[in-house]
């Protein structure tokens, strides 16, 4: 059954006097109502969409071309329940709507996106939005879900009562989407309101107003989501819940090692073969050396990890799109409460498993300022995907794979799990210290809306992976490529009698030797030192750097990176290196975003120093303990 396109039968205004065509369109609505989904459809962009409230935390601008070369600015905004902001992300929406956001044009038109499966409550937001007096299209989204669960609503009636055009659409499937375009072209007239807007400050009155409108429009609320209840019966079950959680986590780590290996071998072989081919066709000389030793060995050794990273992001995607993330926050709330934070902090922390930068942005949803700073400060301890190549490389080089729990958990996956746990413990431990000292605050209530479970779509997951792969390859093509070339050059100067020096005598070697005294107590030599210095730009750079160094040293002997590492590090040194990477804040982008979000250099400097000291001490202790243990 297709629904009729909703065009309120009203006086279409004469072209001149009518609502002038939209120029700057704001997409507004309660959290998780599908704003970004519609924004993406309008602009062709790919803003993040996921099934939990608070995904979008800053404004995003896009363009929509409608007929005769007119381009509209479309602004995607964080979700709000009202126009009284209570957190940073809500403040953004407020400021943009009021035209007070620097660099963002003031919207002259509004698309108000409401979740039609929950119309009564969402319609409350229509009151303050319509009161702004801007041309507004009320978009009732999730028409597909309403229909599937047997609900109904007469959009035309609602439009007449409300005094604003209403479109019943599904942003996900595209059903009814044309009405939105028609509205933006100025083709839909505005009905005269039949109901006066309620007093905005009186929430119960607003809710009554919304209920009355719903009734008038014959709104039939959809049947409760049975599957959500069934699934919650398992995932929030006192015994089954934690058990399922554990099994899933273990399965994820095991797959990251086992399932990714064949793919990684494939990439590895492709990199190796193309490098060999280059070596064969290029004339011998500095260029060939630079390409083969510098670029191929350096960038190639990082690119190998692409399959693993994509696998990790696939799991994170399923977690976020299904709606399980909100349940995880619920389960984690007790732990978070113990260290003085709340379950809401757990959502940014979980997204920090992908990358700390979006995680730090996501803390904007935390209302309490001190809780927010504390969460920003601990987020980089969570194991981000840039650590993954470093961890797997070292683990695979030093730890033989043996089954621990049958085929379900091997030694390597267990070690990786342990490192993730180590990062998490450092995070909550630090939170505890912060929350009981400098960032002490009253306990803030934990209030979190639980989204219904949704089936992650192949398209949605596919697009995520595609975007991820792009980001990863871009980094490989810029930061890592740049560092590899720079390093190769630094390793070949100053020339000695017209020939390249031994690496140890080169500039690169000098850098390594300068830091060596500091890191020698941790069991690292000067080559690891060069890696550590270069990894200040980004963690995975160390893999590329070591690839380049060993590529230069290798002289066609074809020693693998793993073998070379075993030659340079003792097992105790390897453990120390892992601990160092678990704790240290080696990421320029994170430092930059912390400065931006905390509004100054104080916190990023404190954070960098604290994490650096912790990394050194942690690595030192690990080195000593493991050395003693193995002796």
């Amino acid at each position: 059954m297709t629904r009729p396109v909703v065009l309120p039968a009203l006086e279409v205004p004469p072209p001149s006097a009518g609502p002038s065509r939209a120029r700057v369109v704001a997409v507004v609505g309660p959290p998780n109502s599908g704003k970004s989904t519609l924004f993406n459809r309008l602009t062709g962009l790919r803003q993040k969409v996921a099934n939990f409230p608070g995904v979008t935390v800053e404004q995003h601008l896009g363009k929509l071309k409608i007929e005769d070369a007119v381009e509209l600015d479309i602004i995607d905004l964080p979700g709000v329940y009202s126009l009284t902001p209570r957190s940073e992300d809500e403040q953004v929406t407020h400021d943009v709507l009021m035209g007070r956001m620097p660099g963002v044009p003031k919207p002259d038109t509004i698309l108000l996106i409401l979740d039609v499966t929950n119309l009564g409550r969402h319609l409350v937001l229509a009151a303050p939005i319509l009161a702004l007096g801007l041309p507004t299209l009320v978009v009732l989204n999730m028409a597909d879900e309403l229909e599937r669960r047997g609900g109904d609503v007469e959009a035309e009636t609602l439009a007449q009562r409300l005094g604003a055009p209403v479109a019943l659409i599904s942003a996900a499937t595209g059903e009814g989407y044309d009405t939105v375009l028609q509205f933006l072209r100025g083709r839909i007239g505005v009905p005269r309101p039949m109901e006066l807007l309620p007093t905005l400050s009186d929430l119960p009155r607003c809710r009554e107003w919304a209920a009355k409108l719903g009734e008038a429009a014959n709104y039939q609320a959809p049947a409760p989501p049975i599957w959500t209840r069934r699934l919650d019966g398992v995932f929030l079950h006192p015994v089954a819940g934690p058990l399922v959680f554990l099994v899933v986590v273990v399965a994820v780590f095991q797959t990251i090692f086992t399932a990714a290996t064949p793919l990684m071998d494939l990439v590895d072989r492709a990199v190796g073969a193309s490098g060999a081919w280059l070596g064969a066709v290029l004339p011998a000389g500095a260029l060939r050396q630079l390409l083969v030793e510098g670029v191929w060995a350096g960038v190639g050794s990082v690119v190998v990890f692409l399959p693993q990273i994509l696998l990790l992001f696939l799991f994170i995607g399923i977690l976020e799109d299904s709606g399980y993330l909100a349940r995880a926050a619920l389960i984690a709330d007790r732990t978070m409460a113990k260290v003085g934070l709340q379950g809401k902090s757990f959502i940014p922390l979980l997204s920090a498993y992908a990358c700390a930068v979006p995680a730090i942005l996501a803390t904007r949803t935390i209302e309490n300022k001190r809780d927010r700073i504390a969460t920003i400060l601990i987020a980089p301890f969570m194991t981000c995907s840039a650590r993954l190549p470093v961890y797997t490389l070292i683990i695979a080089a030093f730890l033989p794979e043996k089954p621990l729990v049958g085929p379900f958990l091997g030694t390597r996956a267990a070690a990786l799990l342990g490192l993730y746990l180590l990062g998490f413990l450092a995070a909550v431990g630090t939170a505890r210290v912060l929350k009981s000292s400098v960032l002490q605050s009253e306990r803030t209530p934990f209030v979190l809306e639980m989204p219904p479970y949704r089936r992650p779509t192949l398209r949605g997951l596919g697009l995520r992976l595609l975007d991820r792969a792009k980001v990863f390859l871009q980094r490989a093509g810029t930061v890592i490529l740049g560092m590899s070339i720079a390093l190769w050059v630094l390793a070949h100067v100053p020339l000695k009698d017209g020939a390249a020096p031994q690496i140890a005598e080169s500039f690169a070697g000098t850098i390594g030797r300068v830091v060596e005294p500091v890191i020698a107590p941790l069991g690292f030599n000067w080559k690891i030192g060069i890696g550590l210095v270069s990894s200040l730009a980004a963690r995975e750079v160390i893999v590329g750097t070591l690839g380049t160094i060993y590529g230069i040293e290798g002289d066609e002997t074809g020693k693998s990176l793993q073998e070379a590492l075993r030659h340079d590090l003792t097992p105790a040194g390897a453990v120390a290196l892992l601990v160092f990477f678990a704790f240290a804040m080696q990421c320029m982008s994170t430092i930059a975003v912390v400065r931006r979000e905390t509004g100054g250099w104080t916190w990023p400097i404190v954070q960098f120093t604290y994490m650096g000291v912790l990394a050194w001490v942690g690595a030192f202790v690990a080195f000593r303990v493991v050395t003693a243990f193995l002796a």
């Binding site: 009284t84 409550r121 119960p204 609320a221 929030l236 006192p238 306990r443 934990f446 209030v447 979190l448």
Partner: protein, 90 residues
Amino acid sequence: MPHTRHPATLLDLRKGEEAILDRIDLPADVSQRLMELGFLPGSRVAASFRAPGGGPRVYRVDGTEVALRSETAACLHLRPSPPEGTATSS
């Protein structure tokens, strides 16, 4: 008041029970947020799942599900229930 079991706040509701909300005894900004989420005086609230290990509980209110910590739930007072009783299971 009779001495039968009589939930006074949301915290006293067992899973599956529902009751009418009377008032919210919390600072203005928090109660405002709760009201925006549907916890309006006079609305029907049902207790649902609780996070394992005594974590927050999920409440069904106004067509949605919202998780609250016990300490918060204890501040949402219920209307003394009319004769038909407190418990209706779903």
